[in-house]
């Protein structure tokens, strides 16, 4: 019956309770949507970098990692990549020849990284073919096609089918220059892809540097259900001498960002729930003060302080129990809608892309966040009830019964 009384007491002052429940709903919605929005930024940013640029795992000759000297190839790189493709948890593996050099147009020149790619496997690993915004994926040009980033194309003032010259050192240290024709322009939210890379066919660059059949990098994309570390460990246990790294080691700033965004959830949650505590304390205190005489009667006739305390506590938890599911549902529905349709931030696309973010944002929330928020709200309700409940049990029945 205490539960029943507590439940009915919640609806005694319907308007006041609805205001508190409303603030719980709005608080939870704001918390979920804010977190989902931030998470969407983070997940989108990381996915762009991992999926289109660095991949889940990279393998190099350790000496190549130090100064990108082209003579440090991965021994039997093609053969190793073929083996890796057969491993469980590997969605794709591609090989690359990487050469530092210059790209020149009739108007300008720029320092770049020339990436000799295996066309078929590169498309599987980085979906390079999917980010071609103009022109084609190495098609339509027979001799020396090149793909360049949109920003680089803008800087060089070149278009599809324009001629550019790539200059680099060959394996003997001689400066080599070769004419290439722009087959396509790629556009991504990755700054490196847009500004720093020129993609060429692997056989073209290998022929030009005089090291055919050799590779500098193996990039692997993994199944999200598998731990990258397991594949890294497997590789290092089989092949000695190479260095295999997951994206966390290749781009520690990404891993740090990921952790930072996770902790932001707790900061945001603390701020919103703290504000909520004050609302709950205020409401419950009013509810207790209004019922001083009734609470005095309950204690006079034999309701002990523990029961009175819990009755107030339960009333507050009920406010949370009503508000939380509504807030969770509205939050979930909003995120679900925008996960499917995306939040169009194209008005700010230039600024966002400058920082490597996509202009269409897909909010995302892990199930754990919903659980964390639910627990957070219940704890908030309990904390909010402590002072009013303490106030209730501290009253003197004789004085309370004579309060007008």
């Amino acid at each position: 019956m205490i539960l029943k009384i507590a439940w009915k007491n919640v609806w005694r002052s319907r308007g006041r309770s609805l205001v508190v429940i409303g603030s719980i709903v709005v608080g939870i919605w704001a918390l979920l949507f804010g977190t989902g929005f931030m998470n969407g930024f983070m997940v989108g940013y990381m996915a762009n970098i991992i999926d289109h640029d660095i991949s889940n795992i990279q393998i190099h000759n350790p000496e190549f990692k130090k100064d990108l000297d082209i003579k440090f190839f991965i021994k039997n790189g093609e053969e190793k990549a073929s083996t890796i493709r057969t491993w469980e948890g590997v969605k794709g593996a591609t090989t690359r020849t990487i050469v530092s050099g210059m790209i020149s147009s009739p108007k300008k020149a720029s320092g770049i990284q020339i990436r000799g790619v295996d066309l078929k496997n590169e498309a599987i690993v980085t979906s390079l073919d999917s980010i071609v915004s103009e022109g084609t994926y190495f098609e339509g040009i027979n001799r020396n096609p090149v793909l360049i980033g949109s920003k680089l194309a803008e800087n060089l003032s070149v278009k599809v089918k324009s001629k550019v010259v790539l200059t680099f050192n060959d394996s003997h240290g001689n400066i080599t220059a070769a004419a290439f024709r722009v087959a396509g322009i790629v556009k991504s939210s990755s700054l490196s892809i847009n500004e720093m890379y020129a993609y060429v066919r692997q056989e073209d660059i290998n022929r030009l540097i005089g090291q055919e059949g050799q590779v500098h990098e193996i990039a692997i994309i993994t199944d999200p259900r598998f731990e990258e570390s397991a594949i890294v460990n497997k590789y290092t246990s089989i092949y000695n001498g190479d260095i295999a790294e997951s994206w966390r080691e290749i781009a520690p700033e990404l891993a740090m960002m990921s952790e930072m965004y996770s902790s932001m959830l707790y900061v945001l949650m603390t701020i919103i729930l703290t504000a909520l505590v004050f609302g709950i304390v205020n409401t419950m205190l009013m509810a207790v003060l209004e019922r001083f005489r009734e609470l005095g009667m309950l204690m006079a006739v034999g309701m002990n302080k523990v029961k009175v305390y819990f009755m107030i506590l339960i009333e507050t938890v009920f406010l949370g129990v009503v508000g939380a599911p509504i807030g969770l549902f509205i939050g979930w529905a909003t995120i679900h809608y925008y996960t499917l349709n995306g939040v169009d931030l194209s008005n700010y696309s230039e600024g966002l892309e400058a920082f490597g973010y996509s202009s269409i944002l897909y909010p995302y929330l892990d199930t754990n966040v919903y659980i964390t928020v639910t627990i957070g709200v219940i704890i908030t309700a309990v904390i909010g009830a402590l002072y009013p409940a303490w106030k209730a049990i501290k009253l003197n029945p004789v004085e309370a019964l004579h309060k007008i």
Partner: protein, 227 residues
């Protein structure tokens, strides 16, 4: 057998500042089955005495025994449980729980006593029937008149089968017809259920109905008449 025994009970408020002596050495014994009225002018100490006899307040001096248990220095939590098992209360302002039905209000005390559902149901309906308001069992207190609400309060006080019932000015807010009905019911309960009633009142109709009248003046018993 006495259910209440107050010995030399004194109550002084504001002991450290300007002391107000509400009770000055009250000796009172109430036996089982009595129908006692404590009367006197406003401020004579009736309510203070009732609060002390009911374990809601502690005397400054003296002792109070209820059903052979000394409650004078009993701790608050223990007193609450003691009141639940031994004392029924009827308040001037009824003090029913507005969110519960009349039946639930009566049941509530038995629930605190951990009585089973069947017993609670039967006892509450039986008491409401005796009070003449069984048809109002599922209504809220706010749907009843003052007299009817006070009858629910009496039923609630009787529900726990207490050793005695303390009623502080139970008819103060009632019209004459409601007062008469309530007094008849209480007298009937006194006879049939052997319920012991102690009232504070200055209502002559209550005084006329009482079997014993204890008169207080300035915190002292000035007369104690058994009819």
């Amino acid at each position: 057998m006495s259910v209440i025994k107050a010995v030399n009970v004194t109550k002084t408020y504001n002991e450290t500042k300007v002391p107000v002596h509400a009770l000055n050495g009250i000796n009172l014994e109430v036996s089982e089955g009595e129908f006692t009225a404590i009367v006197g002018p406003s401020g004579c100490g009736k309510t203070t005495l009732l609060n002390i006899l009911g374990g809601l307040d502690h005397p400054t001096k003296g002792s109070v025994e209820v059903a052979n248990t000394n409650i004078t220095n009993m701790k608050d939590n223990k007193l609450i449980d003691f009141r639940l098992q031994n004392i029924g209360f009827v308040f001037q302002a009824y003090n029913l729980i507005p969110v519960l039905t009349n039946k639930e209000n009566v049941e509530f005390i038995m629930l605190l006593q951990k009585k089973d559902k069947k017993f609670r149901n039967e006892r509450s309906m039986d008491l409401l029937t005796q009070m003449g308001i069984a048809d109002k069992a599922n209504q809220r207190p706010s749907e009843l008149s003052g007299g009817q609400q006070q009858r629910v309060a009496v039923a609630r006080a009787l529900a726990s089968k207490p050793k005695f019932i303390l009623a502080d000015e139970p008819t103060a807010n009632l019209d004459s017809k409601s007062t008469a009905t309530l007094l008849d019911i209480m007298a009937k309960m006194n006879q049939e259920e052997k319920a012991t009633f102690v009232f504070s009142t200055h209502d002559q109709r209550v005084i006329d109905k009482a079997k014993r009248v204890v008169t207080l003046e300035d915190g002292v018993v000035v007369s104690d008449v058994t009819k």
